[in-house]
Symmetry: C2
Subunit: 473 residues, 2 copies
């Protein structure tokens, strides 16, 4: 007999079915034993009556919570006074004729019949494989999949090609801190894990791909603060022969479609998304990520907006341009057209506005992008303003400048923080709730107990020595 | 005016259109200048007649190969004697009325109008962003996208959920060599890049997900040999409540659908896929990856087969079980049912057959998987046979044994080498041809010049020192 999913039992009253799943609860009422059986589609009550099957009743006697079972029986309507209106299968129950244990379970170390919010995160993380059994977590992963699938279908239909770019990449010292990967074949040298596929996607535009996207893993070795993870996921996207309006329009349509098609119960506060300049946002809201929701208690309200016209540069005290300039968002961005001469001439630096666009949702920046400099002299001018010597520009960005010299098309793109978007849509308090196996705040995996010391053999092969590590107080 | 893609021009004879793209070839016939314009959809001939537009003619005079241009004009039928039957747009040409250069190009350092097979790979890799402009490479990337999209659509329709598992993972010393990532927050400790999501996908089965898949990046730090890459891509898949036949049937259907729906010009030699035991394969073909093609000269012939019934263990001279046993495929596999008692009792070790199934295409193993041990005592018995002490088992696999003790469902899965599958379908000689930015044989990225030395600041933050590196002879 083929297995039936529990959600489908409601349409099979009177039929005999086979179910498989986990025992959520066992209640022994003397002669009758009741089991709540759970699979990934729902929950159903099983009734084990020794008069129907003495064998099944014997098996059920030893069953405990989280045992894995296979069961056959007839779906009966429940008696009127036993109907449970809170459960989709609350009108029916399964009268068990066969029952087999597929695997036992030790008593689980954390409760699985709540949403888990009352349980300490360290316990939840250590037993993540149990924590994910709770309905809230299963729904978060399933909806993350649905959102990601929708994005892929949408962009594929728009003619985009998904391309995988390297994870073993090269360090670019101008961003946040990189994770490094020692090379064994080239001892003393290191790969870096990408903070984003920024350079690769621009090189794919130089390659003539015209429409690229990727659901891309990104890495930043940041100090523990707030709601960050060492690795996170971006929707990364780049288009050729476009202007700012083209990229913004495509992304706005995609965001609206995700909400209206997948989450019809949600309400977008305003379409088209309101737009404001960085200056307006700061003047009016004191932040460039304003939360425009008119009713912050409404869990289904989504208030998107675009923030544009950011300054390209800001003063910095960091070397090499101590007292000089650094970029506010992305060194590869183009200025707004009317400021291109200023960029090339390195004049009116504080006044240059970038083509950058940020998309904000309920007070969180969920994405940002820009039109890029597709001419090498413009990209070089950015590094000049930042005070870089020619040698350093050549060393770190020579390949990009050279690539732009071989017929780079005008192009621009965006990256979304996918974890954050899913978190907000799912009304979760932090991104760890929508990541299958997140790290703790200090980057530990308490389930597998990583990171861990390397063996002497590994260190020797990599030509590495651990430098004296001071004990933390 | 909206931009028209070149492939769509064939249906627009007599219309005025705007095109954007790259100049593939420029031919100056005195008064008339001819340009071949390329975009990602095709190639079309432009005619620039000074009598039609003196401005355009002036612009065209300075244009060289790989310049990026925007052009407007009328699509005219070509004269009979000028029709090019080898080109989809060979019946027409564009009479240019407006022409603008969007970006210039230096003379490119490698020819782009061939398939590139005659060019040294180092040059192709250094200028990968140009190499990818050639039609062959663009088609490889586009078809890789189509195959991957098809897999995702198929599995989504079958109820699978794609879940992202960590890239910053933990080293498991029993596999191939890991890439390590030093932790800054926990100095002296290291993450490892995953060789596959094997443990995570099994933990997702313990979590009750039932049907998981992922297009997953995997990493192995192997010595340079053959057609390997430091990072590669798997279709990774796991299912609960299944037996060997279920996983094989699903995968066989998916492979057949990919070929018949996306590549109707290809011919599958035999369906259902032939099956043979490991012993039969070795006896008959002397290999467990037999190439069953009846006509090896037919580039459209695909001969799939399954190889099953592998020995679980083989003798090894490596520690810790010097002269003892190691697994042939995967320590997490279950034996065939009739050998479970042998496994648990550690008897008849050489005779135990595993549930492993490999899928072979044209002499290459393109995938492999198994039903897993879902009971902790069976998994532990595998490590016992391999001669591991209890302490080592607990240290390296304690979390897996514990996870299996909390109601792990019966489960199994598979992993495909996606790069290899695409390579064979595209009739390419090696996987680098279907990877956007591959590494060289010794793991170098000659485009970005990585890996590269770390800065003193980076090493200090990671508490690392480079050990004396001997010069290679």
């Amino acid at each position: 007999m083929d297995r039936t999913y529990i959600k489908d039992t409601v349409e099979k009253t009177g039929e005999t079915v086979k179910l498989k799943g986990w025992v959520a609860v066992r209640r022994d009422h003397g002669k009758l034993i009741f089991l709540d059986l759970r699979d990934r589609t729902g929950l159903i009550q099983l009734v084990i009556n020794p008069k129907v099957s003495a064998d099944a009743h014997l098996v059920a006697t030893d069953i405990r919570s989280e045992y894995v079972v296979e069961v056959e029986g007839k779906i009966n309507p429940r008696m009127e006074n036993q109907i449970n209106k809170d459960l989709p299968t609350g009108m029916i129950e399964l009268e068990v004729t066969k029952l087999a244990v597929l695997n036992k379970s030790e008593p689980v170390p954390l409760s699985l019949d709540t949403d888990g919010k009352e349980i300490g995160e360290d316990v939840r993380m250590k037993y993540r494989y149990l924590d994910l059994r709770r309905e809230r977590m299963a729904r978060n992963l399933a909806n993350r999949h649905r959102i990601t699938k929708f994005i892929r279908d949408f962009l594929d239909a728009e003619g985009f090609i998904e391309v995988e770019t390297p994870i073993l990449s090269k360090s670019t010292p101008e961003g946040a801190r990189d994770y490094l990967v020692p090379s064994r074949l080239l001892p003393g040298s290191f790969y870096a894990l990408p903070q984003s596929p920024q350079q690769y996607k621009q090189l794919l535009m130089v390659a003539g791909l015209e429409k690229y996207f990727q659901i891309a893993r990104c890495f930043r070795d940041e100090d523990t603060r707030g709601d960050r993870q060492p690795e996170f996921t971006q929707l990364d996207l780049e288009m050729s022969f476009v202007e700012r309006e083209d990229v913004m329009a495509l992304n706005e349509k995609l965001l609206i479609d995700i909400v209206t098609k997948l989450f019809p119960e949600k309400k977008i506060q305003g379409t088209p998304f309101p737009r404001m300049s960085y200056q307006e946002a700061m003047d009016k809201y004191g932040t460039d990520r304003p939360d425009l929701r008119e009713n912050k208690d409404d869990p289904n309200l989504l208030a998107f907006c675009w923030v544009i016209d950011f300054p390209f540069f800001e003063k910095t005290d960091d070397p090499p341009a101590g007292g000089g300039w650094t970029f506010t968002h992305n060194p590869f961005s183009a200025p707004k057209t009317e400021f291109m001469d200023d960029l090339l001439n390195q004049t009116n630096i504080e006044g240059i506005l970038t083509t950058q666009y940020d998309v904000v949702l309920n007070g969180f920046e969920i994405g940002g992008g820009s039109i890029r400099n597709h001419r090498p002299e413009a990209l070089k001018a950015v590094f000049k303003i930042m005070g870089f010597e020619d040698e350093r520009i050549e060393k770190n960005f020579g390949h990009m400048l050279e690539a732009l010299s071989y017929g780079a098309p005008p192009h621009g793109g965006i990256a979304w923080g996918l974890d954050r978007l899913v978190t907000i849509i799912q009304n979760e308090p932090n991104i760890r709730e929508v990541i299958a196996f997140p790290k703790t705040g200090d980057g530990r995996d308490v389930m597998m107990d990583g990171p861990a010391p390397a063996t002497d053999k590994q260190l020797k092969e990599l030509h590495l020595k651990i430098d004296a590590v001071k004990e933390k107080k």
